[in-house]
């Protein structure tokens, strides 16, 4: 009942830091030069890797100690302290607080792709180019590398895992009502009507009204470029352009007809619905198959995977939802060791393989995506289908021109209250897009950006 007092104390902590930080930030924006700092020599790297060092690593990947142990085995002088500071948002909040306080920030941190610009606008991430990160590019799927690359070629992070989007569907339900897995969105809409008419308790899918990630993934697939940026203080916002409106008309149309559901996802209600067959498909990411097999155990063997339906028949396009990177925080006292740790974790063959087989993270490296021991897996949950192989193929169809705004939390929050709400209320999603556009624009201007 007393959030007030706690909040005030938190502000005090932040506020003191903010004033201290003010002096430090006086130098202004050093982005935009496009010049990487001078490369660190191999001799310096060797020396740093043999100097006793302790790194702090914030991550929410479970049992990541296994991968960390591989690094510590190779570089015995360096100890890595793994801290779970929360998954996603809670971790980012703690990170921001630590950054403002000027102490307590980790050396290396897990950051999702969509949050990279949110942390580069505050100049919190270390450009990894001087530490040889540019040489890693060829190991990663193109779009994943583009996601971690800055406007002037900076390398802000190393990809850890990804979520190219596909469709998981209940083959038993489709068979029962004589529906073929839809290949286009038109077929999908027809199937939605047929299915719901045949059984009013079943919806072809659930487009969660609180899940901005899926909306962005679908926008990505449709070829939209909602956010652009030509300079550090510029942000282009076009979340209500023709492509977005097409998406809005399509999905709000299905929602108004009542042939899809719009329940919030990752809630008890949603898990039960998946288990009980309320949704015949889940439009999800490459990490979805394993996630589903542990959260909807009752439905083992009934699911199959397919690519997302397409806007134009014969196309082969997808977007991404989720996945993370390892980034180095600029305030680190051990930039070399930290950068090399981020690199090792996500490029060492043994470490990346462990990620894929122990934590079931979907890999961003070309090597693993073509490794038969990975793509050849035949999980019984999907009737022995080689699901990894399918998603490895989908990963190549994600375009490389999608970028994120430098204030993601705000954009997502505004989406929930405009577009998401309109989907849930079966309202006018097209008008909601205009509201979303105007709310983001107002916020961006208020934050000092040039918008346009």
């Amino acid at each position: 009942m007393q959030p007030q007092r706690r909040a005030v104390i938190r502000w005090l902590a932040l506020g003191v830091a903010a004033t201290l930080g003010l002096a430090a930030c006086g130098g202004g924006d050093d982005e935009g030069s496009g010049q990487a700092a001078a490369s660190v020599s191999q001799a310096d790297i060797d020396k740093a890797m043999q100097t006793p060092t302790e790194l702090t690593f914030w991550t929410w990947v479970p049992q990541i100690e296994k991968e960390v142990a591989l690094f510590e085995k190779k570089y015995p002088a360096i100890k890595v302290k793994v801290v779970n500071a929360g998954q996603g948002e809670p971790q980012y909040t703690k990170l921001r607080t630590a950054l403002k306080a000027g102490s307590g920030a980790p050396d290396v941190v897990q950051i999702e792709y969509q949050y990279v610009p949110t942390f580069t606008i505050t100049d919190s991430l270390l450009d990894l180019r001087p530490y040889g990160a540019e040489a890693l590019e060829s190991q990663f799927v193109d779009w994943t590398w583009q996601q971690v690359t800055g406007r002037n070629g900076e390398v802000w992070a190393v990809p850890q895992d990804t979520g190219p989007m596909g469709m998981l569907y209940r083959q038993d339900i489709f068979d029962k009502y004589g529906i073929a897995p839809p290949k286009t969105w038109d077929e999908f809409a027809a199937a939605a009507r047929k299915l719901h008419t045949a059984d009013p308790d079943v919806y072809i899918t659930n487009l969660a009204s609180n899940q901005n990630g899926v909306w962005m993934g679908l926008l990505w697939q449709a070829g939209a470029r909602p956010f652009t940026s030509t300079a550090p203080d510029h942000v282009g916002v076009s979340v209500n352009d023709e492509t977005s409106k097409k998406l809005a008309t399509y999905w709000s149309g299905l929602a108004k007809e009542g042939v899809i559901s719009t329940d919030p996802d990752f809630t008890d209600q949603w898990y039960q619905a998946l288990n009980k067959g309320k949704y015949a498909t889940w439009l999800t990411a490459a990490w979805g198959p394993v996630f589903l097999s542990t959260s909807a155990k009752d439905t083992s063997g009934k699911w199959r995977a397919a690519p997302l339906p397409q806007w134009t028949a014969g196309d082969n396009k997808s977007g991404n939802w989720g996945g993370s990177t390892s980034a180095v925080i600029k305030t680190t006292k051990n930039p070399i060791a930290a950068a090399k740790f981020a690199e090792f974790l996500n490029t060492d063959p043994e470490s990346t393989k462990l990620f894929a087989t122990e934590q079931f993270l979907f890999p961003p490296t070309k090597a693993l995506l073509s490794d038969p021991t990975f793509t050849g897996q035949k999980p019984a949950f999907y009737g022995g289908q080689t699901v990894n192989e399918l998603f490895a193929g989908i990963s190549d169809t994600v375009s490389t021109d999608f970028t994120w705004p430098p204030f993601l939390d705000q954009a997502v929050n505004d989406w929930d209250e405009t577009v998401g709400k309109s989907l849930a209320d079966k309202g006018d999603t097209s008008a909601a897009l205009d509201q979303w556009q105007s709310r983001i624009t107002t916020y961006a201007k208020n934050q000092g950006f040039t918008v346009g």
Binding site: P3, R5, A7, T267, Q272, K278, D416, F449
Partner: protein, 302 residues
């Protein structure tokens, strides 16, 4: 001469007494100043600035306050918690008073058990309580929905736009009725027995005694619970914050003023504006509480 010495001695004694008085309150004052006064002053200071992602921090004067006063999201939030207060507090305090009187009357058997039973919900952390109610409210698989489905009529949408405030009021009532009951019950136990004897001599029955003796005697305790409820209602945070996950499109980030301040600080990165919003909320609470105190006191003197 004599009087002079006595006066000086008395003065010295007074000073000594005052000093020891200050010594006694010093530990409290230190914590109070460090943990409450300073942070408050600092938040006030913060609220006069504006920090931008591009451009850094600038002095903004009262701009944040001006913005807050015309901020529809904030005003809607304040109106919403005021509505909540009007709906929920009379029910909660009414129930608390009823239970307290029932326990005090000695009519109830197993009164200890009841006392404990009424109080248990308060011992359940509000997070747990809200999660539990969130499950009960579930639109498809919650027990009420299942029951309604079995009986063949549509389940009420507890987490929908229309009923959400009522659902929240129910959770808060469930949580805090017992707490308020204990305060009122304690006050009832402190009423001197002579009053009851006098009432009995005057021929008052149980109801009459409750109405004319007990309730007036615990007026200050009632006022206390009312002020607590004002603060609790206007600072509503935990319950909507948790139910937000279940009904993200009903409870938005500015559903209550506290939720809004939190979201401004941590989602929008507008710490300075959030400080201003909190200050204004604090002001509203002070004004409403004071208004109740004033009304309560006037009635007592008249």
């Amino acid at each position: 001469m004599t009087t002079n010495t006595t006066a000086r001695r008395a003065r010295r004694a007074g000073a000594r007494q005052a000093a020891s008085g200050y010594m006694f309150v010093a530990p409290f004052m230190m914590v109070f100043v460090a943990m409450l006064v300073l942070p408050l002053l600092y938040a006030a200071y913060l609220s006069l600035f504006k920090e931008q992602l591009v451009g850094g921090t600038t002095f903004a004067g009262l701009d944040n306050y001006r913005r807050a006063l015309t901020d529809d999201q904030l005003v809607e939030g304040v109106v919403r918690v005021a509505t909540f207060f009007v709906l929920q507090v009379p029910v909660m305090l009414g129930l608390a008073l009823f239970f307290a009187l029932a326990l005090d009357s000695g009519v109830l058997r197993l009164s200890r058990l009841f006392r404990l039973g009424f109080f248990v919900p308060y011992a359940v952390p509000s997070v747990v309580a809200t999660l539990m109610w969130g499950y009960l409210y579930g639109p498809d698989f919650g027990p009420f929905a299942q029951l309604a489905d079995k009986l063949g009529f549509g389940a009420p949408k507890f987490l929908g736009d229309g009923l959400m405030l009522g659902s929240l009021a129910n959770v808060v009532t469930w949580e805090f009725t017992g707490y308020n009951m204990i305060i009122l019950y304690a006050a009832l136990r402190a009423i001197p027995a002579e009053l009851y004897e006098a009432a009995a001599v005057d021929g008052a029955g149980a109801w009459r005694t409750a109405w004319s003796v007990k309730i007036p005697a615990i007026r200050s305790a009632l006022m206390l619970t009312l002020i607590f409820s004002v603060i609790g209602s206007f600072q509503l945070f935990n319950e909507p914050n948790l139910l937000q996950r279940l009904a993200p499109n009903v409870i938005d980030s500015s559903y209550t003023p506290n939720l809004y301040a939190y979201s401004l600080a941590f989602t929008s990165q507008e710490l300075n504006y959030a400080a201003a919003v909190s200050f204004l909320l604090g002001l509203v609470i002070v004004v409403v509480s004071y208004a109740f105190l004033l009304v309560g006191n006037r009635r007592r003197t008249s």
